[in-house]
């Protein structure tokens, strides 16, 4: 079978995979233009164009995945800024992941966006995003990487803003936070290239993190985790959950950004720089990961909206990946990568179920909906599988990757392990709440939706959810399949099969049981699934902290904006002072001088005599002095 593909690829490309490389970028970009150029009345033609692009992209990705390593180089700008691409085992795997999710979410979004006026623009931005993401992964030159990486900002802005043109605040927030991360990445690229003496990525190997390398490493890392949506670059994601079209959430924050961010983080820590386990940099990265896990998951407890709750999980889960990779241990990096792919599968699935709920009931507000399980059984099953995965229940995929991260965290420091386990507890607790509130319990629907009208989501939406749910099971039960791809990237290791450390598994299971106990306790106390973790929300000190968080006191974006405003006013003040010099001070000096000169030339003969004589005296004295 694989040789058949190989032959087809060879036939298509004339022997090498090289020309496929730029097709991965050019094809989606060109078809993106078609989707907006075709008449806006023709939903079918546009959607066909859109789906064709995702399907071809998927096929190309398969060819590249099966094919051999290939590189290509076009001269572009000078100074070694060449269009250099390289596909090898790591990048081809990442490309395949991107292409698979692009295809699944693509199918879903056609059905989801059917009645929305902005669907054409969404298709266009979606395909452009795909082209840029492919380019970023294929890049073999730091500047080309930056080119495609930052280019994603444009489509990000576009996709958020088309959903809600009246309230653009979220789009601004997203672009500013991403812009900061990307510009830091630019600084990092510059510093890294300066240290290495080249822009070519395959020319960078295990640079030491010292001197200018510290700047390069930290800034590049900021760019990578900023894209992945880690703290402190996270706070636009929950806002986007409210304002952006749902397929956007499923494809960008849940899938593409995680894949790209973690891909780059691994390249930085493992490829470009030599991060040593236990070094200061390693601890910095792990701390970011651990803090992200705990704080973001804590915020999920108080969310009353399905999309928003999921978006906080999207932040929290990236903490596990960063923690795993930050350990710089093989088990941690493999665990981080494995968790990344697992996360994308289940989080994408969860967002898609939320979309199905939104499509059928018109809302994802958990106060308005409950007991949907009866009406949407297939959606509920998909949700359950994905929720069990993210909570780390064996034998679903999330369990296995989390165990690897736990293993690495424990080896690096007990505090990181505790943070990770606390995160797992709260994740399970919040999903018990979410599942219970949305799909079980007594039936409760928004006023404009009748029970008799409510039915299962359309097939085109169920298919991607089903495939992803199946993925959760396959990657769990048969974890050798993904790990056999990931492990060779890092070295000769084998972590497939059941986790090695039984003690850690036991602790994880106890944590899960505790979460269930906690849920039952909360449910008994309040009688509502939605309020099952209110006892944590309203606990003495936590209550005040949560209140502050809800008022955005801790939002890094808001804090930053206050600082920026203050700085701007200082600058404005300086500018006004300078302007005052021109508009007032210089004018006053000139006017004062004229008045003075006019006054001394007042026409009085005696005064002119005085001037003449004193002038004469001055000249005489000067002559005497000079002689």
């Amino acid at each position: 079978m694989s040789s058949l593909f190989r032959n087809m690829a060879a036939a298509l490309t004339g022997g090498s995979g090289v020309s496929l490389l730029y097709l991965m970028i050019v094809l989606p970009a060109v078809l993106a233009l078609f989707t907006v150029l075709i008449s806006h009345k023709s939903f079918v033609a546009r959607s066909f164009c859109y789906l064709t692009a995702t399907v071809i992209n998927f096929l190309l990705a398969i060819f590249l995945f099966i094919g051999d390593e290939a590189t290509m180089l076009f001269p572009w700008a000078d100074f070694e800024i060449n269009l250099a691409f390289r596909v090898y085992d790591f990048s081809s795997w990442i490309l395949l992941a991107l292409a698979s999710f692009a295809l699944l979410v693509g199918i879903y979004s056609v059905s989801f966006l059917r009645k929305k006026e902005y669907y054409g623009q969404f298709y266009c931005f979606y395909l452009l995003t795909l082209a840029m993401a492919n380019g970023a992964v294929l890049a073999n030159n730091l500047v080309v990487l930056l080119f495609f990486w930052e280019g994603l900002m444009v489509t990000l802005l576009g996709m958020i803003i088309i959903g809600n043109k009246q309230k653009p605040a979220t789009a601004v927030k997203a672009l500013v936070l991403n812009g900061i991360a990307d510009l830091l990445l630019m600084l990092g690229v510059v510093a890294t290239a300066y240290q290495a003496g080249t822009f070519m990525m395959d020319g960078l190997a295990d640079l030491p993190i010292e001197g200018i390398g510290v700047l390069g490493f930290l800034c590049m890392m900021a760019g990578a985790i900023g894209k992945a949506g880690s703290m402190p670059f996270h706070s636009w994601i929950p806002d986007a959950a409210n304002d952006a079209p749902l397929p956007f959430m499923a494809i960008l924050p849940a899938a593409f950004e995680k894949i790209l961010g973690i891909y780059l983080l691994v390249r930085i820590t493992f490829d470009f720089y030599a991060m040593i386990p236990g070094s200061i940099m390693s601890i910095v990265v792990m701390t970011i990961g651990a803090v992200t896990i705990v704080l973001a998951v804590a915020m999920t407890l108080i969310q009353k909206d399905m999309k928003k709750l999921l978006s906080y999980h999207a932040i929290s889960q990236v903490g596990y990946m960063i923690l795993g990779i930050g350990t710089a241990l093989p088990v941690g990096i493999i665990g981080g990568l494995f968790h990344m792919i697992n996360h994308v599968i289940y989080k994408c699935c969860l967002f898609l179920t939320a979309g199905a709920v939104e499509k059928q009931t018109g809302t994802t507000d958990l106060k308005k909906i409950s007991g949907l399980g009866k009406f949407m059984p297939l959606t509920t099953i998909c949700f359950l599988i994905a929720a069990l995965s993210i909570s780390g229940v064996p034998p679903f995929n999330g369990f296995f990757s989390k165990e690897l991260v736990f293993d690495a965290a424990l080896e690096s420091g007990i505090i990181f392990y505790i943070a990770a386990v606390l995160g797992a507890f709260l994740t399970a607790a919040s999903f018990l709440k979410l599942g219970h509130a949305a799909f079980f319990g007594s039936v409760h629907l928004p006023e404009n939706v009748k029970q008799s009208d409510l039915r299962e989501a359309p097939g085109a939406m169920l298919l991607p959810m089903g495939v992803l749910a199946l993925g959760c099971i396959v990657f769990g039960v048969w974890n050798k399949l993904p790990l056999s791809v990931i492990q060779p990237l890092i070295g000769d290791y084998d972590y497939s099969g059941w986790p090695h450390s039984m003690i850690l598994v036991a602790i994880s299971c106890i944590v899960l049981l505790l979460a269930i106990g906690n849920h039952i306790f909360g449910y008994k106390r309040t009688g509502e699934g939605l309020k099952a973790i209110d006892h944590i929300h309203y606990a003495p000190v936590l209550h005040q902290i949560y209140n502050g968080a809800e008022k955005h006191y801790f939002d890094p974006y808001d804090i930053l904006m206050v600082l920026v405003k203050a700085f701007a006013w200082i600058c404005f003040g300086i500018d006004r002072v300078i302007n005052w010099c021109y508009d007032v001070l210089f004018v006053k000096i000139v006017v004062g001088a004229t008045v003075f000169l006019r006054n001394i030339n007042n026409g009085s003969a005696s005064r002119y005599m005085l001037w003449s004589f004193s002038g004469l005296a001055f000249i005489v004295l000067l002559c005497l002095f000079l002689i």
């Binding site: 572009w76 280019g151 309230k167 812009g179 701007a568 600058c571 508009d583």
Partner: protein
């Protein structure tokens, strides 16, 4: 020989042609407009024809010797052709846009005369190889800019035009003292003979006054935001095509090509640029007048250009030159878009605008394309320029300098996004307006698309910039 014809045509067709424009108006106003555009296009085409000789290493050169060591000379080397093409291209688009913008105003004769004369002066300055010629063309441009800023004639407007004139001429006079001092030391104003001369620091300070006042760099910058009272195509011309670019061009011409400087200026100029970039970016974030915001943005971006040119590193100089091109295209587009918005809504206050994407879709997209380019986001042209300049700041300066400019770049993203979103998104304030005339809309669309293509096909402009940089003979 025909190369010399192109060189003369490039300078003197707009310079002399401009004076004929009021006569053409006797025939027909439309004829005058078309001729104005034609004169500017002549400059563009001629300068393009000079490109090949320049790239072949045989630049077209004209020279007349006069007594007392004076001379008149024009040289079309790579740098000059690059600047002339950039300026005349953007200027041609701006003139085309003016057909729609200016048609309802009085004094159109003066308008077209001044605009074309302005471009002629720019062409003359760009090709001149004589310090006195440079100074003369410099002052012609100051007079044109004074008349054009004061185009609307009201008292406050005239005051602001006077301010622009006084500041730039004040700087130019100091620069003239510097030129005379050079003459005193060497006995010539001819740059070809001055090649490689070391310059005293006090002369450098005097010349820098002229350059910084023309290029609106802190603390000589405040006339530029005030010049926003001019008609929008004029502001666009000042910011994008001619006026502020004169300063940075002369910086490149004198200090990169001709004179040798003390190494200290590779530290001092970037620091001035850094302060200028930050302060103006901050001011842009506070202002509410759309044209003032974009004007402060120009001051901030000029600092990036100055940083690149003064970095003393090859990639920085190339980045600075690319920046001139990309900034011209994008900033020209931004002002022209602002002109359409201002024309239709009759306000310049961004707090009174909103949701215009519904009524001005093409302007919105063009504004977005240009704004992304100024922000330095790929795939737009500004990205490469910004990247190269930042790279040079780190290589030639220090990580701190690069960091400061990264902050400047972040501020750029914030303030341009603020304008974009406030004007074109949010609650709709103006329901019953429509796009500008087709000339105006197509002009902004062309500039937006050029900003995009400039990024994707960056290999085309970099061929020229790299050629210029490699032939500087400094490395």
């Amino acid at each position: 020989m025909e190369g010399q014809g192109f060189l003369l045509a490039c300078i003197f067709v707009p310079l002399i042609g401009s004076l004929l424009l009021p006569l053409f108006n006797r025939i027909n106003a439309g004829f005058r407009n078309v001729m104005a555009l034609l004169f500017v296009l002549t400059a563009f085409v001629s300068s393009a024809m000079l490109l090949n000789p320049a790239l072949n290493g045989e630049p077209v050169y004209l020279h007349w010797q006069l007594p007392l060591g004076l001379s008149i000379g024009f040289l079309a080397d790579g740098l000059a052709v690059f600047m002339a093409m950039t300026s005349s291209l953007v200027a041609a688009i701006i003139v085309f846009y003016s057909f729609g913008y200016i048609e309802h105003y009085k004094h159109q004769n003066e308008y077209y005369l001044m605009v074309v004369l302005f471009i002629g002066a720019m062409m003359g300055l760009v090709f001149s190889t004589n310090l006195i010629c440079i100074y003369m063309f410099w002052e012609i441009s100051a007079i044109c800019c004074w008349r054009l800023i004061g185009f609307y004639r009201s008292k406050t407007v005239v005051l602001k035009a006077d301010k622009a004139f006084l500041v730039t001429v004040g700087g130019a006079l100091l620069m003239l003292i510097g030129f005379v001092a050079i003459y005193g030391q060497t006995g010539t104003f001819d740059l070809m003979e001055l090649q490689g001369t070391a310059l005293d620091n006090w002369i450098m300070v005097l010349i820098l006054f002229g350059i910084l006042s023309k290029s609106a760099t802190l603390p000589l910058h405040t006339w530029l935001p005030d010049a926003g009272v001019a008609p929008s195509p004029v502001t666009s011309l000042l910011h994008a095509a001619v006026l502020v670019k004169i300063g940075v061009y002369v910086f490149a011409r004198l200090f990169l090509v001709n004179f040798q400087l003390d190494v200290i200026w590779e530290t001092v100029v970037p620091i001035i640029a850094a302060v200028s970039a930050l302060v103006s970016a901050g001011a842009a974030l506070v202002e509410n007048d759309i044209k003032r915001i974009i004007a402060y943005s120009t001051i901030s971006q000029l600092a990036f250009i100055l940083l690149g040119l003064s970095s003393g590193v090859m990639i920085g100089v190339a980045g600075g030159l690319l920046y001139i091109l990309m900034h011209s295209l994008a900033k020209g587009g931004l002002f022209l878009c602002a002109g359409i918005v201002e024309h239709n809504t009759h306000t310049k206050d961004i707090r009174e605008m909103g949701g215009l994407v519904k009524v001005l879709p093409i302007t919105t997209i063009s504004f977005a394309l240009c704004a992304f380019s100024v922000m330095g986001i790929p795939p737009f042209g500004g990205f490469f320029a910004k990247f190269m300049v930042i790279d040079a700041a780190l290589i030639g300066g220090s990580p701190w300098l690069a960091g400061v400019f990264i902050i400047g770049a972040i501020m750029t993203v914030i303030y341009l996004l603020r304008v974009f979103v406030k004007v074109f998104f949010g609650q709709i304030t103006h329901q019953d307006i429509k796009e500008g005339t087709w000339e105006m809309v197509s002009s902004v669309a062309i500039l937006g698309v050029l900003s995009l293509l400039g990024g994707i096909f960056i290999n085309i402009p970099t061929q020229l910039t790299s050629f210029i940089v490699e032939n500087l003979g400094r490395w």
